[in-house]
Amino acid sequence: MSALLESIGYSDWALHALVWLPVLGIGLVLWVEEAQAKTVAFWWSMVVLALSLGLWWAFDPTQGGMQMQSTAPWIPGWGVSYSLGIDGISLFMVMLSTFSTSMAILGSFNYIQSRQRAFYALMLLLEAAVVGVFVATDVFLFYVFFELTLVPMYFIVGVWGGERRIYAAIKFFLYTAFGSLLMLVAILYLFWKAKTLLGFPTFAYADLLQVPLSGTEQLWLFSAFALAFSVKVPVFPLHTWLPDAHVEAPTPGSVILAAVLLKMGTYGFLRFLLPLFPVAAQHPTVVTTMLVLGVIGILYTAWVAAVQPDAKKLVAYTSVAHMGFVVLGVFALTVNGLQGGLIVMISHGISTGALFLLLGMLYERRHTRTIAEFGGIARVAPWFATAFVITALASIGLPGTSGFVGEFLALLGTFETHPTIAFLATLGVIFAAYYMLPMVQTVFFNKLETDENRKIEDLNGREMAIMAPLCALMILIGWNPTPLLERMEPSVRAVIERVEAAGVADAAIESGVRFVEAPPIDPEDPATLAEADVASAADADE
């Protein structure tokens, strides 16, 4: 396989193709007949998916840095470039995005009845944007893609959504835009700083990593970035847009939202927060705050989820709980924690995406999502019940499913550094059963009473084609996550090492030493420039 990919020069053009193929698809979808739009969009997304699978072989698992890099100037005057690349952190995010998009499109065949061409065009635009987010190695480009995801999502919720769709769409938009504008300010500050210190304008991620920042600066910039990403994740208490957006969004919108858009937040943590601001990222106050918020997210939203009458809202809240495990894993700042967080991201993408798809199928049959309306569905739809139970179990982290591996590693990693926090978070395991099992029971078990429920059809061929790969992945990753873990490990280790390199400073913060401004650097003088690299560490010594 590797040889085949090499012979077609795969690694030179694959990332570009993954970003631009969906964009080409938009034209195609808008051009064909309304009735064919969904078929065309689905097969087009399958092509993109197939293309992205090649990354598995093309990726070199021994390297921690960016791979398959390519760059071209975009706005040279400002140092903005169009540059792409992937590493172990983004590899699976890209594959998750293309996979989820295909499944979401396939799952929307019945759900979307009006303005189909526009809908599928937006789905493809969304795909291009999220893939762009994960492969961009230029911070400006990243920001453009990051914001671009809002546009199609806004319309998907606002046009094809439920009754309160306008409220939900605006809330979603404003919430996230609010966060990301602060990030834009921080990015510009970084740019300005880089220009002053390095002597040339640049937005390149690799260059910005070289910019020395004092501890105080790091804390401010960290806060701005963290706010933007925390809204996306979402971290408690910035989560209230999520239930509304999920409940109002059409099924495919919910799937992409849960499977991919939330991951952009935690991806941002890993890609930007930790490497760019290592000193701030291990400031005890920062770490404690993030960990505590993560734990609150796990326990609190589990409780809130448990009493929801609306099945979709329940699942939406569980997303916050799951992402809490990721936050925990990331800010544990251990290899296990980070790897666990990444697996939770993948696992949550698959299992929660699948839950939303299943709930969408249920809604198509019954036109309600109120849990109490159902009962005994397993009698008339055994395949449906089986798929749902498997997915629910993966979601609550039963060993042998992907959810367990992620949560276990995230908790293990957290326990290494913060046992008390990890202990509290482990209680989430109980509450996961507390919110999920009653829902499964009420919907699928108990007595089959009403005629409406009796008429519910089992999964059809198309729906089985959606659920089969999802369920297979949940179980496969549960039993053999090592191939994933070994591809992530070098990149994760690089992040941890970068943070630890700034660890000397960390010790100083703890002992109460105040930060001092970085010494002035003359960009003409290479000696001071080299010193700048270690400036943040040097803070500690003074």
Partner: protein, 723 residues
């Protein structure tokens, strides 16, 4: 699954020599033991789904066939009948081969068969590997052997059930996870089995899911079990922090670097014990097991008596080294065990549901096992686990045969009487003699009457408890005296309530009803043969571990048995380290009976006392007048009511745990989430709106106003510029 069967790696605790010795033991396809039940699950699962689709179509057409309805007998019976028990039989045969090989090999160190790397993050590695040693071998024998018998029994018991293939699918999956639990080479892998069996327990308790009560019971079991699972997880995290691994062999090899009775090892063991408390239904997490009786009776026999619930005991026995290092934890284990033994036994005194009696009896007997492993008598605990698997599985299957007959009887007249209530039984001896005889054997065994299996295992536990308290430096010595006295009292209660159950079920007048009693019948051969096999095991199972001290007396048939304390010696390689730790810290255990007088005398007294209680119980219960449920108007009062209502523990939890959490959840949702957080968000929006509204007041729409303001503005600016 790239299950390339790797060459056997003998991980040696004692260096190269042990490795060489261990090499004598060649495992025979151990992976297949695990894989066969999984295969059975997959095949039966496919059959179940295909069958489910057909029955779903019938349900949709309006042909209401309730699950468990005898009228519908699907044609898809033949394959599951062969696959379900078949895979178990094959697994049992493979286990026997392995046992025979290990028996001859004199294995010193565990043999680990590696398959693939399950999790590897760079700093944490768990292999998907099976560990074969003396302890896992005993467990494998029990799981596949007793499991096979119960599968066979199920063929008869579940014959008329609408979900027959689904039942066998779940049952096979359970055995798969149980084998992972006992064969896994690390705590992490054990945890996979640990939660997996919990899942199967959930599915099987709620097997007749149309009944709300039954699916509630399944849910309750799962959630309560998860409370324990948290303990297991935390213990694993602590282990990882201490040793950087959760594999058995390296952990136990390095365990002694931990401080004896230190905080860390105490915390690890207490958290593990929390897991055990959940899984093995000990106080305070015992509440799920009686409810779990909602499942089909063979399930109760397999999962909730013979195998799954004993996983906690297995866990403590497996971690013997750690528990030996933590005397406080051991005291807690024994204390909870003895408390549970007594507590559950008292509840069992007043229950009328035959399965509830057995459920509380199981809880009580599990308590004994914990006493055993809590006082460092790990072999004794495992011994009782094994004998209990025989006689309690027998009791459950026997009760299943009774319920089966009762159900048929009531079905014939379309009566809706309770087929499980002993007040509706009585005099069944004449209708089902084989069941009666085998269940009496099991009752005598559990009551601790010589020469049945329970006598040896239970007496050994009580004896070891007393001996532990008498050790030179025993911590909390006085406590252990209380323990063994309470354990003895609970044993007497056991004899009483078990005899009561037998008398109410099989003796006296029949109370089923004149018409119904004509339809009472003995179980078919497919059901009574497993009963007979288990009865044989219940009689002779205890003889593998006759204490050497009494081997030559009448208790040990004057030395006629080929070996004394065989199980002790068999498990020696695994328990030696723990015993070594104990002896180093506690000094020599007092192996004599507490009041002197010799072991033989005490054994005689013990069995005589149990016999007296059985006799008294027969007289007392036989003398009482029992009336069928329909005519029973007496409500128990006083302490009897407390016992009947299980000390109101469920009510207590509902009131002080469940309801507060639900209320807090609602508070979080309605108040914090909707009101405070979303309120704040909407408030920000409102402020912006209000500001915009205020400023829009200038927007009069009148051209003149605009012109006037413009002019004034220009004049003001000019004025400022000039001045």
């Amino acid at each position: 699954m790239s299950a390339v069967i790797a060459p056997v790696i003998a991980l040696a605790q004692g260096g190269g020599q042990a490795a060489a010795e261990a090499a004598h033991f060649e495992p025979f396809l151990p992976g297949l033991v695990v894989l066969l039940p999984l295969l059975g699950f997959v095949l039966n699962g496919i059959l179940a789904l295909r069958h489910g689709r057909d029955s779903a179509a019938a349900v949709r057409r309006g042909e209401e066939l309730d699950l468990g309805d005898r009228a519908s007998r699907p044609a898809t019976h033949t394959l599951p009948t062969w696959i379900g028990p078949g895979v178990l039989g094959a697994a049992f045969v493979i286990t026997l081969v392995n046992f025979a090989r290990m028996f001859g090999a004199d294995l010193e160190a565990p043999v680990i068969v590696h398959y693939w790397t399950w999790i590897a993050t760079g700093t944490f590695t768990v292999e998907a590997a099976l560990q074969l040693d003396q302890l896992s071998m005993i467990m494998m024998m029990v799981v596949t052997g007793v499991g096979f018998l119960i599968h066979v029994f199920s063929v008869g018991y579940m014959r008329d059930d609408a979900g027959y293939p689904r039942y066998f699918a779940y049952l096979n999956l359970f055995v798969f996870f149980m084998l992972v639990l006992v064969m896994g080479s690390s705590y992490a892998l054990m945890f996979v089995g640990w939660e997996g069996v919990g899942l199967c327990s959930y599915l099987l308790i709620g097997y007749w899911f149309s009944d709300r009560e039954k699916s509630d019971a399944g849910k309750k079991a799962f959630i309560v079990n998860r409370i324990g699972d948290v303990g297991f997880l935390i213990a694993m995290f602590l282990l990882f922090r201490a040793f950087g691994t959760v594999d058995f062999v390296p952990v136990f090899a390095e365990a002694e670097t931990l401080v004896y009775a230190g905080g860390l090892v105490t915390a690890i063991t207490l958290f593990f014990f929390l897991g055990a408390v959940g899984k093995s239904a000990q106080i305070p997490l015992h509440i799920w097991l009686p409810d779990a009786m909602a499942g089909p009776t063979p399930v109760s026999a397999l999962i909730h008596a013979a195998t799954m619930v004993t996983a906690g005991v297995y866990l403590v026995a497996r971690s013997s080294v750690l528990f030996a290092l933590a005397p406080l934890s051991s005291a807690v284990v024994a204390g909870i065990g003895v408390l549970t033994a007594l507590f559950a036994a008292t509840i069992a005194l007043k229950q009328n549901d035959i399965k509830k009696v057995l459920a509380y009896s199981t809880v009580s007997q599990l308590g004994y096992m914990f006493v055993g492993v809590g006082v460092g008598a790990y072999a004794a605990g495992v011994f009782h686990l094994m004998t209990h698997a025989f006689f309690k599985a027998l009791l459950f299957l026997g009760s299943g045969a009774v319920i089966h007959a009762m159900h048929d009887a009531y079905h014939s007249t379309h009566s809706h009487e309770d087929a499980q209530d002993m007040r509706n039984m009585g005099g069944l001896k004449t209708y089902m003699p084989i069941t009666w005889a085998t269940m009496w054997i099991a009752t005598l065994a559990i009551s601790g009457i010589w020469p049945f299996a329970g006598f040896f295992s239970k007496d050994e536990i009580i004896w070891q408890t007393a001996a532990f308290g008498g050790a030179e430096n025993a911590p909390y010595a006085a406590l252990y005296s209380v323990y063994w006295i309470v354990a003895l009292a609970a044993a007497m209660l056991t004899a009483f309530y078990m005899t009561r159950m037998m008398v109410m079920t099989f003796h006296g007048e029949n109370r089923t009803g004149a018409e119904e009693s004509k339809h009472l019948h003995e179980a078919p051969a497919v059901m009574w043969v497993p009963l007979a096999v288990l009865a044989v095991l219940s009689v002779f199972g205890g003889w593998i571990n006759v204490p050497e001290a009494i081997q030559t007396s009448w208790v040990g048939l004057f030395g006629a048995l080929p070996t004394g304390e065989w199980l002790h010696h068999w498990l020696e390689p695994l328990t030696a380290q723990a015993h070594h730790i104990q002896e180093a810290n506690l000094g020599e255990l007092a192996h004599s009976a507490p009041f002197g007088g010799g072991e033989v005398l005490w054994a005689t007294i013990s069995t005589a006392a149990a016999a007296v209680v059985v006799f008294l119980s027969i007289r007392f219960v036989g003398g009482q007048k029992t009336v069928p449920v329909a005519q029973d108007e007496t409500a128990p009062s006083g302490f009897g009511a407390v016992l009947l209502n299980k000390y109101y523990v469920d009510e207590f939890y509902d009131r002080f745990v469940v309801q507060p959490i639900v209320r807090a959840s609602r508070f979080c949702w309605k108040t914090i989430d909707s009101l405070v957080i979303d309120g704040a968000v909407n408030a920000v929006g409102l402020v912006a709106k209000a500001f915009g509204w205020g400023v829009s007041m200038f927007q009069t729409g009148s051209v003149n106003t605009y012109a006037f303001i413009l002019t004034v503005g220009v004049l003001v600016i000019l004025g400022v510029a000039v001045l």
